[in-house]
Symmetry: C2
Subunit: 470 residues, 2 copies
Amino acid sequence: MRAHPAGPRHADVITSAGVSSAPPSAQAINALDPMVWPLNAVRGADGELGIGGVDCRAAVREHGSPLFILDEQDVRTRARRFHAAYAQAGASRVYYAAKAFISTAVARWVTQEHLGIDVASGGELAVALRAGVPGERILMHGNNKSMAEIEAAIHAGVSRIVLDSFDDIVRVADAAGRAGVVQPVLVRVTVGVEAHTHEFIATAHEDQKFGLSAASGAADEAVRRIVKLPSLDLVGLHSHIGSQIFDAAGFQVAAARVVELARRLFAEQSVQVAELNLGGGMGIAYTDADDPLDVAEMAGRIGEIVRKECAGAGIPMPALAFEPGRAIIGPAGVTVYEVGTVKPVVLDHGQVRTYVSVDGGMSDNIRTALYDATYTVVLASRVSDAEPILVRVVGKHCESGDVVVRDAWLPGDVVPGDLIAVAATGAYCRAMASNYNLLPRPAVVAVRDGVTSVVLRAETLDDLLALDPG
Amino acid sequence: MRAHPAGPRHADVITSAGVSSAPPSAQAINALDPMVWPLNAVRGADGELGIGGVDCRAAVREHGSPLFILDEQDVRTRARRFHAAYAQAGASRVYYAAKAFISTAVARWVTQEHLGIDVASGGELAVALRAGVPGERILMHGNNKSMAEIEAAIHAGVSRIVLDSFDDIVRVADAAGRAGVVQPVLVRVTVGVEAHTHEFIATAHEDQKFGLSAASGAADEAVRRIVKLPSLDLVGLHSHIGSQIFDAAGFQVAAARVVELARRLFAEQSVQVAELNLGGGMGIAYTDADDPLDVAEMAGRIGEIVRKECAGAGIPMPALAFEPGRAIIGPAGVTVYEVGTVKPVVLDHGQVRTYVSVDGGMSDNIRTALYDATYTVVLASRVSDAEPILVRVVGKHCESGDVVVRDAWLPGDVVPGDLIAVAATGAYCRAMASNYNLLPRPAVVAVRDGVTSVVLRAETLDDLLALDPG
């Protein structure tokens, strides 16, 4: 339990959250760490942040502030890299996670780069279809798909529906039967492993809403029911062990357990698992403290783990599938804000924390408040050799928990009117954005070779008022 | 730091979060605790939940599920009660918190019931004005008001602007000067007190983005600057110590400190504080474990505290103002969901937790994931005498932290198709709602004397797609 319903408010130890006690150099805080910033992020002639050949100041002048900027080439490069590395490791498909961020433009980019798309709602499906993504590239997830969503997915000919519960089995079978099709499906299996960053926890059971337990026999029972239903074609199993995962260790236990289930299904039910979707949740670097494993190395290790487990269990190696989650779009996106106020606050121990207020906040990035997420921020409209000061970047919402970056260093001459940029906001920021305090949501633009295009236009006050009969 | 970026996932101790170890009776879990449910919530002839004379099943048939239902008479009654109680205690104005939830209908109700409205953005101001709220009833807050927002507020003739920083002073003075008006203002003062529920913490300084410190001299300096600016009229001070406050203890220290500042301002600058806005954050009951002080009693105690402090300091008692926050709209709102899947999960210690998935989730109520908020839930489409089972009500989002009610008891025969209702969702639910997973946001309807009216219509997929150029 967190005690304060309006979010944390007290002083953290000032050196917490990855902030070193010795201030970094003025030069260091102007630098753009390539692990954190998009592929095509550079300092321009005036010291301004440029992405994909576009000056962030010009982009903000044209599309407003705050502004989400997506480096299109970065998205495409990561998509290609994941596709190639996981194909090499035995994957028949790598899926882009619509929930991280979806729009028709992004759906087209990742489809052109050979990825599939995993969708978890009728809305995400609709965007993929509107972008022209063929059904055979789409996988549908969800612990509580509505009948309308299932029907839409089947009508679109999605290549996989992941069955999450006994209720789900009945509904998908029914909808497929009525549509006169045989729907390929996977069973979502929980294996009692939760992985995150460099750690994982393995338990016998899993206390979560997703999936059917391998340990309790629920997954076996699901398979027993599915194979009796002529409108369903059981292709394989799905397992997902966490998010923001930096190494392959957690996949070891998970693979062992899911392969043991596959062995049992073959031995007891003569069911062959042709495809094993191991989910994903591959991590990205939000700050220089994050060190996710190289894509190809992660792919290779996981592939090897599964191969060994299958050999040990005496079953054929299934085709693999993966869902790297935020890893495609997350690092490609940046949020640019305009600084509105700069306020030094003396703390109880005498140190000063400077609150830098921007024109957005928890409405466009809830992750800091929701997950205690950490981010990297730089002065974006210029560079400065002023002494670094410890800042907290906060939003303009009427709530003290409205924090964008909890601890960061910015040049001491940061002033209202400056633009600052927060890195790695491509995933789960615009996707989870709200209109809290009736702030319209910012535009998302793509930049590439000096050209800016609108991915999602900025909301207007009229958009917000349109729901109110007046 | 919370370790899991996708929210808590492990089993809590099953008796945590207010759930008693002994299951409640079947009768108890059908009951509607009047402390938690809207004033006009009753069980109807079929056992269904009715609010304001409207059957929740009929409302959902007409307006879809999930659905926010507001008991209009409840909102009006609480508004009247706060107005009367705080007027009695010396308040010249009680402000409704737009950030909790605002629409033109709600703005009209609370204005008719003699409240003012506090707004924190141009959007909130626009809705109030669209509803016909006169400027003299409006107060504007904000740690980072844009010049456009300040100009709009001054143009609307808002009766108070709360100045939050030195930057803010300059901007408001400039805008008022250009508009040729003298703008009444308050100074937001931080006094180093943070109150929440039955506890408060007092420190010398305050580590937050809001306000100007009384201890550091920043507040004194702000007053020194303001009184020199002919376009500003310093009416008084503003202090806000927290949210979800259940008793008056925290106001004691805060009042002492802010009254000491008022005394000093008079002694040193001959500035008289005519108005003292003590903010609010009055708490509400989310579950039967919550026991907020009666409105009149809280008002009386705070009034008495300030009177004593002023007498002690030898300064005249200022007019008071309050911002009770969620306390007007919070308890008047209910969310109705349809159950989609019911899944018993065996936990490691052998107990069973039943996951009840609904057709909304963290997109329409982020408070459970964001603040570990607790809620009360009942079966709404019927009553049942089935044995209670321990449930976790979860949403349909593709994220394991997507929890609506962490621990609750529901009848053991709860099935897909049942409606369930979550109480006290009037504040900070629809206001903070997102389109995560591209779920359209639910409608908000008002019910009164058997009549349902649309407060905010449900979003459609077309609304969402309208931002995407395609």
